[in-house]
Amino acid sequence: MSVPYVRRNLESRYRLIASHCETCNGNYFPKRKICPKCGNNDHLKEVSLIENGHLGYVFSASAIRHPATTHTRYAPYISAVVELDGYKVPTMITDFEISSDEVDIVNDIIGMAIEPVFRRITEQGEEGVIEYGMKFRPSQSSLFKEYGPYTPKKISRKAGLVSYGVYLPRYKVTVEQISKTFGTNAETYRRGLALEEKGVGNLDEDTGTYSVEAARRAINHAGIDPQKIDRIWVGSESPPYAVKPTTTIVAEAIGATPYVGGSDREFACKAATDAIPDAIALVNDELMSKTHEYTMVIGSDKAQARPGDPLDYSVGEGGVALIFGKTDVIAEPLGVASYLTDTPDFWRRETAKFPSHGGRFTGDPSYFKHVLGAAKKLMSDLEMTSKDFNYVVFHQPNGKFPIRAGTKLGFEIEQIKPGLMVTKCGNLYSGSSPLGFAATLDIAQDNEKILLVSYGSGAGSDASAWITTEALLEKRERTIPVRDQIEGRKEMDYLQYARSKGTLMF
């Protein structure tokens, strides 16, 4: 498909925009100019089939084993027609394993309940554009909820966190799988780094798709019109393109375009938290707030590692989105402090496929120096100690570093644990400390204080302090809790994992 062609159909591909005929009640996807049943062209209403938690079922399908050359990378896969509230939609079924045995389409696929997910469809060769669209996957009804608009209850004077959204993939790889592949001792990683397993996405997931899913969940949590989101930053170190923003994909997929600003941010694992002060300031500023009702910060990565490298055991995948504004704030900021020096402990040159790192140099002179530096500065600015916080969340390259950093600052293990997700999720890079923050917000009560400390190699750290509000509890039912998302993940073997990561070459 040509680039102009792909763009022309973007809203139907990204947001399933369909037409409903108000004269004859006909339902059509994609949207039409003339009702094919009654010929009417004045009373066709546009509807988005992914808003408000539309669920559906598979109408018919086939497992494609001999694809066109444009789709060989993803074969075998299921092409299908699904029915959503009476609309028939062409799509693919994803997160569904196809073995060499026949898929029983009639008994297992037709009628299967499904939920929409934003995924990569294909790419125009190695150098061409990436094509995204809506696929569907077997629905996890326990996680999928119906959301509508949230009626505003309280407008604050100052900006704060309005909502968050987390997307974690449905597959995982255990430390044992990786150890078995490279002949290492899994205990080294289990005990030494407190790593057990990590989330891995499907072949069709990338930083763009994680960002979109996280953003959609954050919008659902807030219950706001995406048109009101005025600036979006996507922080990542694994963007789908070397040059071309991920932010535009997100803005289009959530329906925030065209009156919206934003950009991609890069600062290793603190690319997202780096934008939090900006996101708050724009909403607070007297002049800027006129065009910034809500701002969004996303941390998302399909984190990269050289196969067999210690990073291979720890890098995770997923996305976290945070929305800032003044309406029904769930956590108010108390203050922010940053700490930054030029310390090359982890880097990737332009043509390198995998990042390099400084081994043990990434510890004391890098992670600890910056994390402790930012945290101490903020605590001293705020005249607070570890005892004043209910929870603390650090960047999580492994399970040991955050605990060591917390202990050095006088925190107890109970304050750290609610946000410590790396043991099961791996290091989400830009999404790492935001994920811990979200997991903590999942369980926090109102009027509790949280210290959030990120770390980005290179190196820098942002510390921010938060106090939760009643709105956190009021809007909680609109979230998909982090810990629920790691239940029932399917295990991949190393080959499947390598294929998904793109490190298995063919």
Binding site: M1, Y5, R13, Y28, F29, P30, P36, F59, S60, A61, S62, A63, I64, R65, H66, P67, A68, T69, T70, H71, Y74, Y77, S79, A80, V81, K88, V89, P90, T91, M92, E102, V103, I105, V106, I109, I110, I121, T122, E131, G133, K135
Partner: protein, 402 residues
């Protein structure tokens, strides 16, 4: 002139075809000329007698980079007569034949030739992509292929009517049986049901032996004004009904997946025009591009009740004890479907299939089909050809009578 001749669109006075196969030595032009020359011979006329040509071709522009097939043919023939190329995916030659009939009926031409041709094997690696041009871009975007789309139809038919994999496999078994005496067929040998059921998966639930093959080939038909047909032959075959219809390109844009509206409408038109009913039909060439399509076409053309195609075919093939043709015992009467093996076993050079079906019916009705001549208790008087493009985006049905 008989009544039949007086209301016919045209009379067929000759047909010719090439073998359908991987024809590595023949170009598209070679195939067109070979089939045309043998058609001219059967009609006992020369090319200079032909006033216009109607050419069916689908994807020469994609597979062998040749557009303007009419010019290619004019060059090979050294002619300046009008040549029209019709494109309707796998129904290209059906549409060419339809328009040739109109050309005669209008009085503009007295003798015309129809040639269907496809050269598919030169670029086997892009055939799947090229054929998908007959699907909608939405279906292609989500990775669907031609077998994939018919698999959607098959799965839905199995789901709604309980049609079984075994019943569907019987379609292949039957069509291979019908090809054994066809010297032009790509696969002139019998296959067993187990071979179909164990053949490699292509697009579940469709397996390799549910699919018609990738083929090269051409077929030609000579048509003339019915009033002058007897000058050329004692046994003209008259085109007494011609139907053509369209439908939404994409499967997902239709209400029902278990049948093709284009088939229903085209068949209605053709049967009404020819003043025939299902019981009058002796032989039927169906567009069995995949096994499921023979089932749905029998239903759509009302030879069996909706949803009963599977068990009907299953029983007919299962109880077959003979050595030649498997006769379908329709309520309306006995018919033989796909006398020379159909698309499955005769081969399916997509743009040539519609005219190949006409060739088959013509031979059978005239009684010159040789070892594959259909032998029913009644005389063969009426044949029907059913040609489908895409997943039913276009279709044609023609009634031929002698």
């Amino acid at each position: 002139m008989t009544v039949r001749a007086s209301r016919a669109y045209a009379a067929i006075i000759g047909c010719g075809r090439t073998k359908f196969s991987e024809l590595w030595d023949d170009s598209m032009s070679d195939l067109m000329l070979d089939s045309l020359i043998s058609a001219l011979k059967t009609a006992d006329i020369e090319f200079k007698d032909i006033e216009a040509m109607f050419v069916g071709n689908f994807i020469a522009a994609k597979i062998i980079d040749q557009g303007l097939v009419a010019g290619e043919l004019a060059q090979s023939l050294g002619t300046h007569i009008p040549i029209f190329r019709l494109e309707g995916a796998c129904a290209s030659a059906g549409l060419a034949f339809y328009n040739a009939c109109l050309g005669i009926k209008s009085g503009k031409f007295d003798i015309v030739a129809v040639t269907g041709v496809e050269k598919m094997t030169d670029r086997g690696e892009i055939v799947t992509d090229a054929l998908a041009a007959a699907a909608s871009n939405w279906e292609r975007f989500y990775g669907n292929t031609f077998p994939g789309l018919y698999a959607n139809i098959m799965a839905r038919h199995m789901y709604e009517y309980g049609t079984t994999r075994e019943q569907l496999a019987m379609v292949s078994v039957k069509n291979h049986q019908h090809a054994i005496n066809n010297k032009f067929a790509q696969y002139p040998f019998p296959i067993k049901i187990d071979s179909v059921l164990k053949s490699p998966l292509v697009a579940d639930p469709i397996r390799l032996l549910d699919c018609s093959p990738v083929s090269d080939g051409a077929s030609s038909v000579i048509l003339c004004n019915p009033e002058i047909a007897k000058r050329y032959t004692e046994t003209p075959v008259y085109v007494t009904g011609a139907g053509a219809a369209t439908d939404a390109l994409a499967l997902f844009a239709r209400e029902d997946f278990t049948g093709l509206t284009a088939t229903k409408l085209a068949a209605q038109q053709a049967f009404t025009e020819a003043k025939i009913e299902q019981k009058d039909v002796n032989i039927l060439e169906l567009h069995d591009c995949f096994t499921i399509e023979e089932v749905t076409a029998l239903e759509d053309m009302k030879f069996v009740e909706k949803g009963e195609g599977g068990p009907f075919i299953g029983e007919a093939v299962d109880s077959f004890k003979g050595s030649k043709h498997i006769v379908y015992p329709c309520l309306s009467g006995e018919i033989v479907v796909n006398c020379g093996g159909g698309l499955k076993a005769d081969g399916h050079p997509v743009g040539a299939t519609g005219s190949r079906q006409i060739c088959e019916l013509w031979e059978q009705l005239v009684g010159i089909a040789g070892k594959k001549q259909v032998d029913l208790d009644t005389d063969l008087t009426t044949g029907v050809a059913h040609n489908i493009g895409g997943t039913g985006g276009v279709g044609s049905v023609h009634v031929l009578q002698i």
